[in-house]
Symmetry: C2
Subunit: 263 residues, 2 copies
DNA sequence: CGCCACGGGATTGGATACAGTTTTGTGCGC
DNA sequence: GCGCACAAAACTGTATCCAATCCCGTGGCG
């Protein structure tokens, strides 16, 4: 009943799931779809406007459209995907207002959180941040753009985690993901990930227990990222591009070819 | 297609919801399910732990479980219902940590927003807030507890709207709804909606253009609400109570009776 | 040459069918 | 009576099916 592609997709998935609650690794669920799309957005492998065709995504994960649609419902709820009736889902394209709003919201929240972290961070927290900075540097050294983008986003997530409010941390992850979309939609020519040393400066301020300074640096940092965008111009790629340059990690590209080997 | 029960349910609120994008086609969608559950939570008509059975809710809205389930996916994404595999959905019960987090988050965001409103609110905005206060008073006068609860929650939503950041406003609506659940889970004996005059004091400060004072009042206001809760005791109704005392406004109670007259 | 009507293919919208799991109910042995 | 084993019922999880809608190419017509 399922295509060969489907079974291929869940290569290692033949375990029976006797323990339902613990990591039932076998089968993809709506949550899987949600998480993987978020991951792909945050790594800039999915760009605003990309059409998400239920059938193809379902085939990729080896599940039916029912599951995919539940994932879409979650993604739409998080503001990451736009659903229009009878016309399917596409990755959201934050407009100018929304872009400003998300940066404004992040500045409000993150300046406060980074201050709290500067007040309360322990050795372990600092070490974690330092380790993360090293990973960023490594990616920068390798000129691995996609990995760098992912890591610079993660820096903010880690800060929110350390601050200890799980709810705000979850909200911030959402905001960060929208930020990715805003950047992709409005970036000027160059890539403009986070400016190189600003994260390090923030960690320095945290380590020196200077909450006010850390907050200021965070504010400036986010303002810099926003300033690098070109909000005036209408968002680029108003029609899809269909993930033209995405790596082979996600199936949403190559329109006409893939259905070949099925029968 | 809708049952008579449906019309009875929104007895008081008879305004047509002519929301922008929504086709006024009578048919319910996942969004309908989501919105109505949120509404019911915010009006304290649904309480933490209430079991949401797909089939019954689908029958109520006249749709299949497919749609209900998509609504549940959105509700779970918003943290308002908890899904456990093979055991269905129930209204979330914020634990102590989550309750503290949501109040902390709201204080952080709302003190800032109310300050901005005090800085920038125009006559129209003030009038809107005053009109809302009158509605609160009216409900208080009528001793209409459910309506009062709904309105006091709405006050914060209106402030967020006036502040102008749509994203933060949406997040706050989520937070407010979680707050409802936290209050229901942890309230001491009495009802403890918002203390009576604190909203009015906040509006006064806004009207006098005193952002700092407005922020302080907002902080104290939220702290008062939190202080009224009894977080030490484990959330009441650790297993459901199954909405034992809920009014007839929502179909999720009365297990054996309701399916009778249909044919 | 451009515009509109039309039709076929692609895709979504949603109900339903069926399998699997949990919960509830019941009778039996102690 | 009190558990306990087992069967029935209730409910969830997911795939599949059919209808509705959209997209887009094609041909007729002005």
């Amino acid at each position: 009943m399922t295509l060969s592609k489907a079974t291929a997709a869940r290569s290692a998935g033949n375990r029976r799931k006797k323990r339902p609650n613990v990591r039932s690794r076998g089968r993809a669920t709506a949550e899987t779809v949600f998480a993987r799309v978020v991951e792909a957005i945050r790594a800039h492998r999915l760009i605003p406007g990309t059409r998400l065709v239920e059938e193809r995504i379902g085939a990729y994960f080896g599940v039916s459209r029912t599951i995919v649609r539940q994932g879409f419902a979650k993604l739409a709820q998080a503001g990451l995907v736009e659903l229009s009736r009878n016309r399917g889902a596409r990755i959201a394209t934050p407009d100018e207002k929304r872009t400003r709003d998300v940066f404004d919201a992040r500045i409000l929240i993150e300046t406060e959180l980074v201050g709290r972290v500067a007040d309360s961070a322990g050795k372990v927290d600092i070490a974690r941040l330092r380790a993360h900075l090293r990973r960023e540097d490594a990616a920068r050294g390798r000129a691995d753009r996609l990995d760098l983008v992912r890591l610079t986003g993660e820096f903010h997530t880690i800060l929110a985690e350390i601050a200890g409010n799980a709810m705000l941390a979850a909200t911030l992850v959402e905001y960060e993901t929208v930020t990715c979309l805003a950047i992709l939609a409005h970036a000027r020519g160059g890539d403009s990930a986070c400016p190189p040393d600003e994260h390090a400066a923030i960690v320095d301020a945290i380590e020196r227990r200077e909450p006010r300074r850390a907050a200021t640096l965070m504010r400036r940092h986010l303002e810099h990222v926003l300033a690098d965008l070109d909000l005036a111009r209408a968002a680029r790629a108003p029609e899809p591009l269909e993930a033209a340059l995405a790596p082979a990690a996600f199936p949403v590209h190559r329109r006409r070819q893939t259905a070949r080997s099925s029968r």
